[in-house]
């Protein structure tokens, strides 16, 4: 009986090449195969192909991929993704209002509810001095900017993570997700601001001419919101705890911010440092000064808020772009 050319002799367990077998040097399995062929009947070995090359354990340091911080290029890429931002914003808005029975009404319900609670609590219990402005109007002009800030930061910070599905598939600058979340929050704020004319009518007051300062205050407001959203969105991808801590922090911050009371309640020796640390305070104060009271902006305090906004926007964007290449890896 002649021997089988390719005998079915069971290969001993230790001689079977595991698909993962690989030397510490990273030499491909085949290179090592001769070690395992103690069995003389194993006539079939790999064909002598010269396709194996030895690879080092790690790349030489000069090959290391580093993306330079090229602001011009980043902004150009962002501009190219504007269509995506538009689509994302439309999608968020549609998802939010289409599948809810009360629809757009949800944009008012929150701030109006807070304004009513604040009226009872701050106005009747704590007696907030508001000059000649009715308290409901006073608190509502604080609640809208606060809502934009808090909503924008929370949804902006979670936006990259919430869009994980897209992250691994669509090549785009990742800041499109926080930015479109902030645009969505802005639309919410604009809808809730529609109550404001009604409040003016009911209370028999009119916005002051100084309301024309609004864009200046708003730019500071936007810079702070966007800056924090970008900063936290980047950090959140690696430290997921931020996601749980952030809403809580925002609730606490609401009471540390003059939303239901006035900035003048803060002791004057603390007010400068306070305005820098909590820049939403002077922002809200300046909305009120201009729209309700007809004064020019309070430049020193607004300036502190602007400094904070500029710092956090630049710092947040730089950090975001620095760690952005790794987002898809942890998604």
């Amino acid at each position: 009986m002649p021997a089988r050319p390719n005998p079915p002799t069971p290969v001993p367990r230790h001689a079977q090449r595991s698909p993962c077998a690989r030397s510490r040097l990273g030499i491909p399995r085949d290179e090592q195969s001769f070690h395992y062929h103690g069995n003389a009947t194993m006539t079939m070995t790999r064909p002598g192909t010269p396709d194996v090359h030895v690879t080092a354990v790690a790349p030489p340091p000069e090959l290391r991929f580093r993306r330079p911080f090229d602001l011009h290029r980043f902004l150009r890429e962002l501009w190219r993704a504007r269509g995506l931002m538009r689509t994302l914003t439309e999608r968020d808005l549609r998802a939010r209002y289409k599948q809810a029975m009360l629809g757009v009404a949800w944009a008012f319900i929150g701030p109006v509810g807070f304004a009513v609670v604040f009226s009872v609590f701050f106005n009747h219990v704590a007696k907030v001095p508001t000059g000649n402005v009715p308290y409901i109007l006073f608190s509502y002009t604080g609640l809208i900017p606060w809502g934009f800030f808090a909503g924008g930061v929370v949804s902006g910070a979670t936006a990259v993570m919430n869009n994980m599905v897209l992250l691994n598939k669509v090549p785009c600058p990742r800041e499109v997700f926080p930015i479109s979340a902030i645009v969505t929050a802005l639309v919410d704020a604009a809808i809730s601001a529609l109550v404001l004319p009604i409040m003016f009518l009911v209370t028999g007051r009119a916005p002051q001419w100084a309301s024309l300062w609004f864009p200046i205050v708003f730019i500071v407001h936007l810079a702070i919101t966007l800056g924090w959203a970008l900063l936290l969105a980047g950090v959140l991808m690696y430290v997921r705890d931020v996601r749980h801590g952030l809403p809580l922090l925002m609730q606490l911050l609401l009471f540390a911010t003059p939303v239901g009371y006035a900035l003048s309640s803060v002791p004057s020796s603390w007010v400068n440092i306070y305005c820098f640390l909590n820049p939403i305070a002077p922002v809200i104060d300046n909305y009120r000064r201009t729209i309700l009271y007809g004064f020019a902006p309070d430049w020193p305090h607004l300036g502190l808020a602007a400094a904070h906004g500029l710092a956090v926007l630049l710092g947040g964007y730089a950090l975001f772009k620095r760690i952005e290449p790794g987002f898809a890896d942890v998604a």
Binding site: V11, Q16, R17, T87
Partner: protein, 391 residues
Amino acid sequence: MLPDGSLHVDRVWKRFRDDRHRALLRDEIARLRARRKGDPSVGWRWALRDISFDVAPGESIALIGMNGSGKSTLLKVLVGVMFPYAGRVETAGRVGALIEVRAGIHPELTARENIFMYGTLLGLKRPAISARFDDIVSFAGVEEAVDRQVKFYSSGMSMRLGFAVAAFLEPDLLIVDEVLAVGDAEFQKRCLDRMRDVLAVGTTLVYVSHDLPTVQAMCQRAIWIDHGEQRRTGSTAEVLGAYRRSIEEHTDHEQVRLGPVRVLAVRPAGRDGQPLTAGGPMQVEIDIAADVTRTFDLVLGVTEATSTPIFLIQTSVEASSEIRTLCCNITQLPVGAGNYSLWLGAFGADHTVVLPWQSFGHLAVGGPELTPTPTGVVRLSPVYVPATWEK
């Protein structure tokens, strides 16, 4: 500046955390401690090691390799959703990608929104997308459902949409990952046709598939990636040959699976012991025995390394504990020159397996080469081979 549609991959390395979905403080501390001791690779594993290749505009290249070899990671790096750890990737022109079947397709959006979103990502203006809109919709066959959210689509529909969007928005570089595995036969044909069309207008194609015949049909060159390393790069025929041989070797080292029927020897040969040639005769002698006297169907197949045979020959055999020799005669071996495997299996009544289907050696076939397939034509071979048995 590279011309549009070219791809330049220069010594790309990529690593991942050992457990990407776990971020615990104690892991981080362990990692930092190891780094301070000078071992930066603790807690990381390499997904790609030193991958380099170039693709010229209009070329078609395939990436092949086992599951988990790093093909999809490489594609993600090419598309630009992932960044390499080291090395450089340069692409020129618009990149259309179909990764994980529904690449740019977002389930929350409608088909219409998806088409526009993906188009804007590819750098097309809205009017340009509108011009192609109807083509995309009709190719995907989703005319009635354009304004439905994609999450309510059947998986086939969303996949068709994904392919249509990627293939019709005229990318300079089209990256396709395993599309054909999921579609029905008709859609597979349309995909292949479309890929052939885009190749004809000079689009570069990077194609990933486990379906080797389609790889052979679509691509001029191939890269075999094995455990994150570039094992072989060259013409499709050459790389596929090497890849198949490696699979073959792998099967060789598998434990022999036993059954009540045992094959003791298999001797394939050409006429009068000559080497095998394409189209020439083949004679296979099989020494066979069984535990008790039993009757079963013996099936002999010739495969290209995988377990899927090119053709099968079957006969009814009665065997006992006494070893007997069977001889199968094939007048014309219907395969081209190359390396093949001979597989055997035996099956009793009621589909009981008396000898598991497994490889019993190699066939080196000389003689004329196989007729080359035109681009986009997939060879499938339900071959009938007449054979006579001497028992």
